[in-house]
Symmetry: C2
Subunit: 187 residues, 2 copies
């Protein structure tokens, strides 16, 4: 029981090394449109997406995320954030920043479904992607209002996650093992 | 720029009328496996899915959700929940109940990505689906512990959303318009 949709779902991996070449505008349109066609609770569509292709702004988010993300007391995050080689967007040429309506019903759920659509659509076009949470240290910092202004967000939206997009450099990573015991049945 | 993945994303609709015939076990396996192959923050996979094909339990969740979901002061929910014709699972023969690890990092995001994978996988197999939030009125009620026991969940997991699955009865609904102004660019 195999088809192209199942194949894409099973084969997509998070990509953390990107070619310099920018993705095309038609590809970007398809990816965004895929996100906007996710289902949302009560059809609220209470999401917003900002396509950033401005290296200066991406570098600034990286720098501030690493600054505010150190000293949080989480060893895993500490090790990541103090690694001078880490760019939280892995130098992806395009980053889509997802924002949620403040206090919007099921806003996290809705934007997550949209993001997963975008990741799969990108994969189907040969474009690599990584869903990035580390940028929250910039978005949630005392610079929050400044970033909201720089991203030119509509009123009452707050940035949450980022999606790095670009042509993959190198091979796709191996799949990590799936956890056991995450499914049960009541029949 | 069209392919089977994009097509599935664009054409999938929420289905709210199901044939009686049960979906096959191989189909169910593919759908679940698609969910388990979603990305998760720091590969936590902090999700749990319970496949319920027990009509008695589904009817009970429906009944309790409608009971605890009335009188909440939300007119939209009130109108839905007091409609005697509504079964919150639309009589779907299979319901997958998603649960999240309590206080698990990004648990809502992770399980939402997994659910979206399952909806797309189901669609690709000709199986209709609806992502259901109304069941939360049962899961979050004073009967929470009782439902957790009936669902035989692992420790520290709480049910959140439900996915109705079955062969669609009737035509696929029309797409609802997408909101304007949900995307902007910083270049």
């Amino acid at each position: 029981m195999q088809n192209e949709v199942i194949k894409a779902i099973m084969e997509r991996r998070s990509i953390r090394a990107f070619a310099e070449k920018q993705i095309s505008n038609p590809e970007l349109d398809v990816i965004i449109n895929a996100g906007l066609h996710a289902p949302s609770a009560m059809n609220e569509q209470n999401w917003h997406f900002t396509v950033v292709q401005n290296k200066e702004l991406l570098d600034e988010i990286n720098e501030k995320a690493k600054m505010y993300g150190t000293g949080t007391g989480n060893d895993y995050i500490e090790k990541l954030m103090t690694n001078p080689k880490l760019h939280i967007f892995y130098n992806a040429p395009t980053v889509i920043i997802a924002s949620e309506l403040d206090d919007g019903y099921a806003a996290t759920v809705n934007s997550s479904a949209a993001i997963q659509n975008m990741l799969l659509a990108a994969h189907s076009l040969g474009i690599g992607s990584c869903w990035i949470g580390l940028s929250r240290y910039a978005y949630n910092s005392e610079l929050k209002d400044e970033f909201i202004k720089k991203l030119n967000l509509p009123e009452n939206f707050t940035p949450t996650y980022s999606i790095a997009l670009g042509y993959p450099k190198g091979n796709s990573p191996e799949i990590k093992p799936r956890k056991e015991g995450t499914v049960n049945f009541v029949r």
